[in-house]
């Protein structure tokens, strides 16, 4: 057993209102620089929708992630031999048009325009070329466009849905959509790290944050093709790749990452997960339908004395283990099993989990009025406007079972709380639902509290990052101080 610590994250999609506050918080801190205008390390997508960059989930187009090959797994985009023919150009990358051409407005014109018969307007200007452009797309261009025949209809997650389901999903009165906020998943088996020819990407040993070394990056852009979530971006100004850093400077000072901290719906949870690094290779190689369970297996119980012993042996400090025991992510993922990894079939073992959203049920006409009250307790989950298959494609590696389990448990908790607080439903029925959903009353109460009443301290259990100790494992600080002098600080730029 090789116990390591990872900052795990969880987004509760049932609470997301799609306000994009997270995206703006991130943008203002990290990607307002030249060359990063088009980047959104955090973005919020409407589902069904094609997302950002357009159709990022379609790995037949973008070739991200891993694929099974001769009993093992290999990168879908590149390899030691396969890179030779594409050494100067990686053909499977999103173009700027697939992201969007960033723009601002010519505000000065509002003040400087010569007098004329019409009101002056602020025309959009490309932030890349500085020319006037016609805006054709944006990072959330399909925002709230649930029924859009251009964007929503081409969501790769619609694969396997029947014609009837598709028709319902796009008919006007039954239209439905939900939001999917996305950041880097800081995967356990990151394809971006594996693909980098320069070894510039690395996963921090002490907390699992995946970073790009700006000094070693040589602009091969293999990471951009290899990341199936398209969360590594190329800075066209510095010629280096950049990605979400999980605000590690904030984490190291005990603050939650900006997108977490600013979240209006309080949908974001963050906490340490202990996992067994020995099992990564085997887990990533399992058949698709076993991946979710295998990843849950890898995440270890921080209360288990055997795990604690091995963690201490690996240099994980008591404080981090304590944080892992309080981790809300651990509870949602491993104990309650209602948080699921996105597209684990890409085999990168993402460490960002999503609680699937409850959707409105299909309304039925009764006496000339639309009625959505159902007598069949769980039945309407299958009848929800968002087909279960769609959620399963997104969060369940195509299997409805795992998603159904999470939704049933959530619904049972709701029903139980409704019986307790509102009292318009029968408590016995609610208890029966809990039993059917594999949930105790105690657990239901805990889920309810951590979902609805959670405080900042409960949502973000940030471990002490102990950077001074992490550095000591690499070099002696005293020696470093005596040898290094003042050193140099310079920004990343093109070239070696």
């Amino acid at each position: 057993m090789n116990v390591r610590a990872q900052i795990g994250t969880m987004f509760h999609l049932d609470k997301c209102i799609g306000c994009h506050t997270c995206s703006l918080a991130c943008k203002n801190i990290w990607t307002d620089r030249r060359g990063t205008e088009y980047m959104w390390w955090n973005n919020v997508e409407t589902k069904p929708g094609t997302g950002y960059p357009c159709q990022w989930e379609d790995q037949e187009k973008f070739r991200g992630g891993w694929e099974k090959h001769n009993g093992s797994i290999r990168l879908k985009s590149t390899g030691k031999a396969r890179i030779v023919t594409n050494i100067f150009h990686n053909p499977h990358m999103p173009s700027m048009d697939d992201y969007y051409e960033p723009w601002t407005y010519d505000y000065q014109h509002l003040f400087n325009a010569p007098e004329g018969p019409d009101q002056p307007t602020a025309r959009p200007i490309s932030m890349v070329t500085g020319e006037h452009i016609d805006v054709e797309s944006g990072p959330n261009w399909d925002d709230d466009l649930g029924g859009s025949p251009v964007y929503a209809e081409h969501d790769p997650n619609l694969a396997g849905l029947s014609e009837e389901q598709r028709r319902q999903l796009f008919s006007v009165e039954q239209l439905v959509f939900f939001y999917l906020p996305r950041i880097c998943n800081h995967c356990l088996n990151p394809a971006c790290v594996a693909s980098c020819p320069s070894g510039a990407l690395y996963k921090r040993g002490e907390d699992g944050i995946v970073l790009v070394d700006q000094k070693r990056c040589r602009a091969w852009r293999s990471c951009i093709a290899a990341c199936p979530y398209k969360k590594v971006f190329f800075n066209w100004h510095t010629g280096k790749s950049e990605k979400c850093i999980l605000c590690y400077p904030r984490l190291e000072t005990g603050q939650a990452p900006a997108c977490f901290h600013s979240c209006v719906g309080r949908i974001r949870y963050l906490g340490v997960l202990l996992y067994d690094a020995e099992r990564i290779a085997d887990a990533a190689n399992l058949p698709t339908e076993q991946l979710i369970d295998a990843q849950r297996e890898m995440i270890l119980d921080p209360h288990d004395s055997h795990v604690i012993e091995n963690a201490l042996k690996n240099g994980i400090s008591d404080a981090v283990i304590e944080a892992a025991q309080d981790s809300p992510v651990y509870k949602f993922v491993k104990v309650w099993k209602i948080a699921l990894p996105p597209h684990i079939e890409f085999r990168t073992l993402p460490m960002l989990f999503y609680v699937p959203p409850m959707a409105p049920v299909m309304a039925q006409r009764r006496d000339g009025a639309l009625d959505s009250v159902s007598d069949n307790l769980f039945h309407d989950i299958e009848q929800a406007r968002v087909p279960l298959k769609f959620l399963a494609n997104l969060l369940g590696a195509g299997q409805e079972g795992k998603v159904l389990y999470a939704l049933r448990k959530q619904k049972a908790v709701r029903w139980y709380r409704r019986a307790l607080t509102v009292g318009d439903v029968d408590l016995e029925t609610a208890r029966r639902m809990l039993r059917d959903a594999d949930c105790t009353e105690h657990e239901a109460q805990a889920i309810y509290e951590l979902t609805s009443l959670c405080t900042v301290e409960q949502r973000f259990v940030i471990p002490p990052m102990l950077r001074e100790q992490a550095i000591e494992s690499l070099k002696d600080p005293h020696e470093q101080k005596q040898n290094a002098g003042f050193g140099f600080l310079s920004g990343p730029r093109r070239g070696l």
């Binding site: 960059p53 053909p91 251009v150 081409h154």
Partner: protein, 271 residues
């Protein structure tokens, strides 16, 4: 008698042998000793025609002498139909002395080794011209393996694209070099560094020289020089055409390559 002895002594000495080799490589393409005029005059007894000082300064820098308006130099220029003797690489005043010594010694002999190749004066036949054309275009490879002429040169009758344009057009070379003996001698021991380096290790055989001379004589009589501009334009256009064709081919081969994602969705929805 004394002359013969001297010549023998000079020829057998080490310096004499070296000078002879130098003469062969650098002078023999235009000059003979007792073999008649080639591009340049026969050098037999040249040291009696003009004094050594004059000869030395002329050999070291022929153009300067001409520019200075020396009457004898101008006379030579006229005899050579305006072809100025090139400045020969590796000449030093000492070496000029040795060369003049060699010429003096060789002139004393009854038959100098630099009398020049006995060029066949057999009349040219159409078959010779055909053979010459085959050699020129590389259909026949010269026996010693010299590269075909048309990699760098052009003459009429080898197709619309002409030959190479790296070397001069050879349509009128027969007249330019002053006829059959001079051209033959030139082909045997060319005077330019480029041709020297090409033919040094792959000299042309006498029958090949015969055939090429026949070709050049024929072309000088009948052909007009290839229009370099037209041929080059044809060549460029052909190149562009082939490049465009190659692009079309690549496009067909990689038809399923990755293209824009979003734009294709939007365009498909407009249909």
């Amino acid at each position: 008698m004394l002359g013969i002895v001297l010549a023998a002594a000079f020829a057998t000495s080490a310096r004499g042998q070296e000078t002879a080799a130098y003469f062969k490589a650098n002078c023999a393409s235009c000059h003979t000793i007792g073999g008649g005029r080639l591009a340049g005059p026969d050098l037999k007894d040249v040291t009696r025609r003009k004094d050594r000082e004059w000869l030395k300064s002329f050999i070291l820098n022929p153009q300067a002498k001409i520019t200075a308006g020396d009457p004898y130099a101008l006379q030579l220029l006229e005899e050579a139909r305006g072809v100025v003797m090139p400045q020969v690489a590796g000449l030093t005043p000492d070496r000029v002395d040795f060369v003049l010594d060699l010429i003096e010694a060789e002139s004393a002999l009854e038959e100098s080794q630099f009398k020049g190749q006995q060029i066949s004066m057999a009349p040219f036949t159409p078959a010779d011209v055909t053979r010459g054309m085959a050699l020129f275009t590389g259909r026949d490879i010269p026996s010693a393996g010299a590269p075909p002429c048309f990699s760098c040169h052009s003459i009429p009758g080898i197709g619309g694209l002409g030959g190479g344009f790296a070397g001069p057009d050879l349509t009128l070379v027969f007249e330019r070099l002053g006829g059959r003996p001079a051209l033959s001698a030139w082909l045997q021991a060319p005077a330019t560094p480029m041709m020297q380096s090409l033919l040094r290790n792959a000299p042309l055989a006498p029958d090949e020289i015969h055939a090429l001379t026949a070709l050049f004589e024929d072309r000088a009589k009948h052909g007009a020089p290839v229009q370099a501009g037209v041929a080059q334009l044809t060549f460029s256009l052909l190149g562009l055409g082939v490049a465009a064709l190659a692009l079309v081919l690549f496009d067909v081969i990689w038809k399923g390559r990755f293209r824009a994602v979003r734009r294709s969705l939007v365009e498909a929805s407009k249909l």
